[in-house]
Amino acid sequence: MSKRMSIPEAASLINDGDMITFSGFTIWRRPMALVYELIRQRKQNLHLVEVNSGTHGDMLIGAGCVKVWESCWIGQELFGKLGGNLDRKLREGSILVEDYSHYQMLLRMMAGAQGVPYLPTWASRGTDILNPDYDMLAKAGLRDGSNPKIPRHKFAIVEDQFYEEGTLIHVPAVRPNVCIAHVQQVGEDGTVRVWGQKFADEEAIKAADKVIVIAEEVVPEEYLRREPERNLIPPYLVDVIVEQPWGAHPTGNFGCHEVDGPFMRDFYNKTRTQEGFDAWADEWVFGVPDYEAYLEKLGFNRLQKLRANSAYKYNDSAKRGTR
């Protein structure tokens, strides 16, 4: 009973309206191969809940796949300071945005991962993040309990009884339908190894009901199990395995390849209007039949120049600045 699938097969498991989360951090190790395919399959009404977002999220939003976005940050880092598509859709009123802080989003995911309905925190007291006037899911009538994935409250403010330290914030758990993760290595049965920073991958994977893992390479379980301390996730938490080298492009991947900054900047610059987005997508998403064709379009030498040095774990030779 192999868990192996192709990118299109894996994408077909995601239903319109699903709550989705992702591996990675801002513009690092995002499951782009599957993100492109979700756009190609024209998914609708997705509910993204992310510890933080980035190029992948802004792309799904630009493509009109997203109805609700709950997170704390979106942008392209050095390569485009806004989530240009989110900015446009929000100004148009065609997307619902619910703001939490970064740590609050992490704790929401951790609560999901740990099977409790909420976690307490001191983070972000005093801010408009807690302003009930800005509870956009409530204003949209989505906190009535009819959707079991949407909690009845954005927050609760609760007094500490144990040490009398004051009022804490309870943030509700997130339990996405699907987590889509891009990682460096997965075993044939599903043991996951992530190199470098783990970001919030463990929490995102454990919080989700279904887990799709796209890996640079599928390796023998026995190999990963020689050092079980280095592995993040056991096989039974992984439902689908896809082998897709370079599957995180244009985002970066520790030990594998650099961020493709020019690609990202081009995306940002061209997609500030919907017409621009559509033209960009016609070229890079709908204009190629699949991810292999996308990589071929990028070309060998462009990718080769992004490859990580195996000692440094990043590319140390490409020109990045002005000197």
């Binding site: 005093g126 440094y312 600045g321």
Partner: protein
């Protein structure tokens, strides 16, 4: 040691920002830094005034010894020779536990109490511009002992009140009611400090912790108190101005351009 200061014209405004921010670090401190100028500041501090400071990046690396400047806190370069490469739960947990002494932050708008907006311009539900969002700004700013903001000095950015209170200053909203109270009252026993400096292209500002109000501390060489006042849209307390901001030294500039950002990523 005699300091060999650079003269105006021998340095750019971002150089001064990075240098002034670096000087806020005390040796041995644990410092949270974000992408860009904050990275330059902590890396410069480690090479000058605070050789034993520890740098923590939000994405989950602790005390890296990068040989190439990271271009993002998620960058693989952050993990080079780090003490620990883990994830957000580790580093934010340490922050909440009170282990972070100082953090560098930024913002699009700031008010006279140091409240910062990085979320929207205009009405929250129907904004004129949507910024990237809070990120870890309010988490760090509510739980680190001191924070230093690095911002662009413009009248429209230094406001009586910000459009959206993303990150808490010295007078904040107390929920569930939303009444304005002092940070000390809002945070109670869990008050640990707060914004201690705002460094812009024109000046350094600090806060009176009892009134919560921002005041002008030093003015950068080449600017006047009046210049600063003209670029602030609230009534700025200038009564405590200590004089000129200490300019960069040639040694600091050398470190910035030839060691910290040798590739010219943030300092072209």
């Amino acid at each position: 040691m005699d300091k060999n200061y650079a003269k105006p014209g021998e340095y750019k405004v971002n150089d001064l920002l990075a240098v002034a921010a670096a000087r806020e670090v005390r040796d041995g401190e644990v410092v949270f830094a974000g992408t860009g100028l904050p990275m330059l500041a902590i890396l410069l501090a480690q090479k000058t005034c605070a050789p034993h400071a520890y740098c923590v990046y939000e994405a989950g690396t602790i005390d890296g010894r990068s040989v190439h400047l990271p271009a993002s806190v998620g960058d693989a370069r952050c993990a080079y020779q780090a003490a620990v490469a883990s994830g957000l739960f580790d580093v934010f947990g340490q922050l909440q536990r009170g282990k972070v002494d100082l953090a560098y932050l930024g913002g699009a708008e700031i008010d006279k109490y140091g409240n910062v907006n990085t979320t929207v311009i205009g009405d929250y539900a129907h904004p004129q511009v949507r910024f990237p969002g809070s990120g870890g700004n309010p988490d760090i700013n509510s739980m680190a002992r001191r924070t230093v903001f690095m911002m662009v000095q413009e009248k429209r950015r230094f406001r009586e009140q910000v459009d959206y209170l993303t990150s808490p200053g010295w007078r904040v909203k107390k929920w569930p009611g939303g009444e304005w109270v002092s940070r000390q009252e809002a945070f109670g026993k869990m008050f640990r400090g707060g914004p201690s400096a705002v460094i812009t292209n024109m000046a350094v500002f600090r806060f009176d912790e009892s009134t919560g109000l921002m005041y002008l501390d030093t003015v950068h060489p080449g600017h006047t108190v009046e210049d600063v006042r003209n670029n602030v849209s609230f009534d700025l307390d200038v009564s405590r101005v200590k004089g000129e901001t200490e300019p960069p030294t040639h040694e600091e500039l050398h470190l910035l351009y030839h060691v910290v950002d040798a590739e010219g990523i943030f300092l072209p």
